[in-house]
Amino acid sequence: MPEQIKEFLQSFRKIDKVLGVMLLNHDGEILAKIITSDNQPDILEQEVFACFQLGEKLGDLLKLGNLNQSYLEYPNSNFTSETIRNKNNQAMLLIIISQEGVNLGRIRMEIRRVKKMLEEVPA
């Protein structure tokens, strides 16, 4: 199964300035990870995950509903994350790490495409 997920994530590699992509489960464990560049991102995946948990909590307290997508911008890299639920309604976090100047619209398009495939992945 991780191989199948990795295969889905490969499509992000064709986007200019994408440094890496990973999928975490709801406990923050890495299900799949592809790094396409030697450049070190500004923060670690576990910190992105901590941000995700805070984002969920804030959404709850401010009655904003489910957190669907978030974007963290740092000086040398940025992180787009998307919440995905699989067939068993278990949440996963897709994180795309990219460089300044990346076409975010393109990343979002690819996320929506890949999201549909990941939603079909059994637990």
Binding site: D42, C51, G55, L58, N68, E73, Y74, P75, R106
Partner: protein, 327 residues
């Protein structure tokens, strides 16, 4: 415009050199759209569909342009096809709402209304967002907002001016109503009293606002923004502004909890900003300097590009008004 024309030239060169590069075609489509070169924009979108037919969202870009150039039948045909194939995608629904506000195309929306009925719980929020954006909710906004802000800030300036004028008009209308009430000189009902009291509270809040609060209040002019707060690293609120009746809850407690988590993120001082998108709106956490965050909450449909532009414009002033100055 010169900058945009130069950019278009470069983009055209780029797609000629690498015709399989989707990003280049997308950027070219967006730039042409902004320049008003609609046919070229459509052609660029079509190229993307040829390269990867699964990138169906480009169809919405085309439908929006067709509506703008009054090719209503073709625009409807695309949106109908899209809605049948992707009935759960809110992006089609947003375009549907935009069409609904066009009297010339509204009649042809019958089948779509039934298809998009499921979105009705979100309708109120979206309608409000459309209203606050002056009925301008481009479906490809999320792709082009950066370009809009960087390439053509006059669009934003125009929007801000329109918003200020609309507020002035509203104020005049309110004054007229007040004078009519005075003439009638009837005892006020409980509802009228409560409304007046609420209006007076808002006015009092504005009059008592500190320079810092005045500054963050102006951020609420960005379309869809309903809350702006400044807090320190521990989550203690220094200043806040909330649009009338838009929020219930203990902000102090909510952001104190947030501050505790943010403190534990080691690299937080380097963060520029953090954008969070939810079912019913968005949050932006902006790092003003090493001591202060600015947090804004917006409704569904909020133009983040415009908000970011405003924050960047105000950042220095805000920092100078905060303890610690512009550190």
């Amino acid at each position: 415009m010169i900058r945009l024309d130069e950019r278009l030239e470069k983009l055209n060169k780029r797609v000629a050199e690498n015709p399989q590069n989707i990003e280049s075609w997308l950027t070219l489509a967006q730039a042409n759209y902004y320049r008003g070169n609609y046919l070229e924009a459509i052609s660029a979108y079509e190229q993307i569909t040829n390269i990867d037919p699964q990138l169906w969202e480009t169809q919405l870009g085309i439908a929006q342009i067709l509506e703008e150039i009054k090719q209503y039948q073709n625009a409807l045909q695309i949106l109908n096809k899209y809605a049948v194939e992707h009935p759960n995608e809110v992006f089609g629904y947003l375009l549907f709402l935009k069409f609904q506000n066009n009297p010339e195309i509204k009649e042809g929306l019958g089948e779509l209304s039934a298809l998009y009925k499921k979105f009705s719980p979100a309708k109120e929020n979206i309608d409000l967002a459309i209203k606050s954006t002056g009925n301008n909710l481009p479906i490809i906004e999320e792709f082009i907002e950066d370009l809009q802000t960087l390439e053509n800030p006059s669009i934003l300036d125009k929007f801000l001016k329109t918003t200020a004028e609309a507020q002035k008009e509203q104020l005049n209308e309110d004054l007229k109503k007040l004078k009519e009430l005075e003439k009638k000189a009837k005892p006020m009902t409980g509802g009228e009293l409560s409304q007046l009291s609420s209006q007076m509270e808002t006015v009092a809040q504005e009059l008592n606002a500190s320079p810092l609060e005045q500054e963050i209040k102006e951020l609420l002019n960005a379309k869809g923004i309903i809350l702006a707060v400044i807090l320190d690293r521990k989550g203690a609120i220094k200043a806040q502004f909330v649009k009338e009746d838009s929020f219930e809850g203990n902000l102090q407690q909510i952001f104190k909890d947030a501050g505790e988590v943010l403190q534990n993120i080691q690299t937080i001082n380097n963060l520029h900003y953090w954008l969070l998108e939810y079912d019913h709106g968005l949050l932006v956490i902006y790092n003003l300097n090493q001591d202060w965050f600015l947090i804004c909450q917006g409704m569904l449909g909020t133009n983040f590009g415009a908000l970011r532009y405003m924050i960047e414009q105000k950042k220095q002033t805000l920092c100078s008004l905060l303890p610690g100055g512009g550190s």
